[in-house]
């Protein structure tokens, strides 16, 4: 049996006050293992991003616990949590958030810079990862000169450059055409995923469901189903 990477137990999040108060995530519980691609799907507003943020140490749950590799992350201090994210989690944001004033290479190197790597060493290392995503020849360009799919791959290189064991993708294919989206997902499955990694993908793009190992469905803040996709 594969080791548990992420375990959420009775995680709850409320937003707003008074009449506007909404229960974005209602006592969600699930487990995801190393070596698998875990999908979080559901309609817009169902609480996917909120849950993802609580799992990755960005948003504190109102109650419940999150264990990453058996460590209760919400007992950490703010700075410890920042270090935890830096070392263990790789993020690919929905709209990438690449710095337009830095080169592609410098963008990829940012997690290493934050890990206090020497500048030249960080650039060398980052170049390897640009190579992995097939963009070595774009190293000195600013990100906005690249296509959407290429930018997505730069964001992936940035997410994996510090060799995290949890990778978080929020709507990775939302702004890509069908073919590019599929290419990105098969790249993730073939080249990024390994036995020491867990890839968590939030999406409502049914075109890429085929790449999932498990699919968890959410509706209105509630986990409605967890399906083992490979068995489907």
């Amino acid at each position: 049996m594969a080791k548990t990477a992420i375990s959420a137990q009775q995680v709850v999040k409320w937003f707003g006050v008074g009449d506007a108060r909404t229960n974005a995530v209602k006592a969600a519980s699930f487990e995801a293992s190393f070596g698998e691609i875990f999908y979080l799907v559901g309609p817009s507003g169902s609480g996917k991003t909120t849950l993802l943020s609580m799992l990755s140490g960005i948003l504190k749950p109102d109650s419940g616990s999150v264990y990453i590799d058996n460590a209760d992350i919400w007992t950490l201090s703010t700075d410890e949590l920042a270090d935890f994210r830096l070392n263990r989690i790789g993020f690919v944001f929905q709209d990438y958030h690449l710095f337009p004033r830095l080169t592609t290479l410098e963008n990829v190197a940012i997690p290493l810079i934050l890990k206090k790597y020497d500048w030249d060493k960080a650039m060398q290392e980052a170049l390897k990862y640009l190579d992995i995503v097939g963009l070595k020849n774009r190293a000195q360009l600013p990100p906005y000169k690249l296509s959407g799919g290429e930018q997505q791959r730069v964001a992936i290189a940035r997410a994996i450059v510090s060799q995290p064991d949890i990778l978080i993708f929020d709507e990775p294919t939302a702004s890509l055409d069908g073919d590019t989206g599929k290419k990105i997902m098969s790249f993730i499955k073939d080249d990024i995923l390994n036995e020491q990694r867990c890839v968590l993908v939030v999406t409502h793009d049914s075109r890429i469901f085929e790449y999932a190992d498990k699919i968890m469905k959410m509706e209105d803040g509630v986990v409605t189903a967890i399906e083992n996709h490979s068995e489907m």
């Binding site: 991003t49 993802l52 943020s53 990755s56 960005i58 948003l59 703010t78 700075d79 920042a82 270090d83 935890f84 994210r85 830096l86 070392n87 993020f91 944001f93 929905q94 709209d95 958030h97 710095f99 004033r101 830095l102 410098e106 940012i110 997690p111 810079i113 934050l114 206090k116 790597y117 020497d118 500048w119 960080a122 940035r158 929020d170």
Partner: protein, 378 residues
């Protein structure tokens, strides 16, 4: 640490439009502030030039005197009375006034005339040419080689002129420490010749110059002079008095102050506003950095570095620009009074620091408030 500073630097400098606007705002403000305050310092220095050049330690005068040029004649007994105060080593009269000269080519020119005590010549200038004893020679005058000397038609030893039907002859060329404010040449002669050549009212002593026996005697001398109904001040106090007059009693100081403040506020708002826009534009990126694992203090360091770097570069450019402008102006205009003092540079530096701190604060506040969750949600 070094790495995030390089990142911060690149984010700032690669945004060429905003970086240029920031630099221009600060350079412009520094330029104006230094220009304003240095013309002010220059004028104050010129206004005190006689005090600086004469160099006496204590000056006795009518209490109503505001600037050295507007002396109010005192009766002759003042000098004797001062001389008999305990702690006075010696006390001598100084004549300070203006007169119109008729030059050898027939032109008229006004000049400041300083009459030095005949026995001591206290306050005598250093000579570049000629001997100081020649001041006693018949009709002897020393001319000061300052920026105004050419108004006397290139005078040299032996040049003659007329002063109220008296003949005058240049017997020496004197060096000067500080140029005057009023654009007039300065001549030295003896006290007795000055009051003989220049018709005055009943009283003739402009100032009594005092040398105290010791620094401790100064306060006693001041007290005694005050009892006589006159005012004794040290050289430094006199300069202070003159500068207070220009600062507060004329519109000059207030105007300079207002202009300096306006430059400061304009600089502050241009750079504060631009820096704020710069931070706002990068806000989601700072949020992404936070999500990835940057700590708050690292983001603060980045922003303070960006604000500080811009401020210091702008300061350097502004001061450089001033130095060039003042240098050029001095080459062309002998009367150009501006002097850049460390005080001027210090004031501009403090203002720039305030601009940097203010910009950092608004940037840091914004960046600390951003939630990585909001970046996540898009």
């Amino acid at each position: 640490m070094k790495g995030i500073l390089i990142i911060a630097f690149k984010l700032l400098v690669n945004d060429k439009g905003k970086f240029a606007a920031l630099l221009m705002g600060i350079t412009f403000a520094v330029f104006l502030m230094v220009m304003m305050t240095s013309i002010f310092s220059g004028v104050l220095r010129s206004a005190s030039s006689v005090v600086i050049n004469i160099g006496a330690k204590i000056w006795v005068m009518d209490p109503a005197v505001t600037t050295v040029a507007n002396s109010i004649p005192m009766p002759d007994f003042v000098q004797d009375a001062v001389r008999s105060i305990d702690g006075v080593k010696y006390a001598v009269p100084l004549y300070s006034g203006a007169a119109t000269l008729r030059l050898s080519n027939g032109a008229y020119q006004s000049a400041t005339i300083l009459g030095l005590d005949d026995t001591s010549l206290l306050g005598r200038p250093q000579l570049l040419e000629g001997k100081i004893e020649d001041i006693f020679a018949e009709n002897g005058f020393l001319v000061v080689k300052d920026s105004e000397i050419n108004k006397l038609n290139d005078p040299h030893i032996g040049t003659t002129f007329e002063l109220n039907e008296h003949r005058g002859v240049i017997v020496g060329i004197a060096k000067v420490a500080a140029n005057g404010l009023f654009g007039m040449p300065t001549l030295y002669t003896t006290y007795n010749r000055a009051i003989q050549y220049i018709p005055t009212a009943r009283f003739t002593t402009s100032y009594v110059l005092v040398e105290p026996k010791s620094p401790e005697a100064v306060q006693h001398i001041k007290d005694e002079v005050k009892k006589m109904g006159f005012l004794a001040v040290t050289k430094e106090e006199f300069r202070e008095k003159i500068s207070t007059y220009y600062k507060f009693k004329t519109g000059f100081g207030t105007n300079i102050l207002i202009m300096t403040m306006i430059s400061f506020i304009v600089g502050l708002s241009i750079s504060g506003q631009t820096f704020y826009t710069f931070i706002l534009e990068n806000l989601d990126k700072f949020g992404a950095l936070k999500a990835i694992g940057a700590k708050s203090h690292e983001l603060i360091i980045m922003i303070v570095f960006q604000a500080g770097f811009t401020a210091l570069t702008g300061y350097g450019l502004g001061v450089g620009l001033c130095t060039i402008m003042i240098g050029l102006a001095k080459m062309r205009l002998p009367n150009y009074a501006s002097v850049v003092t460390f005080g001027n540079l210090g004031i501009a530096f403090i203002m720039v620091l305030i601009i940097a701190i203010f910009s950092s604060l608004i940037g840091v506040r914004k960046v600390l408030k951003i939630e990585p969750f909001d970046v996540f949600r898009g």
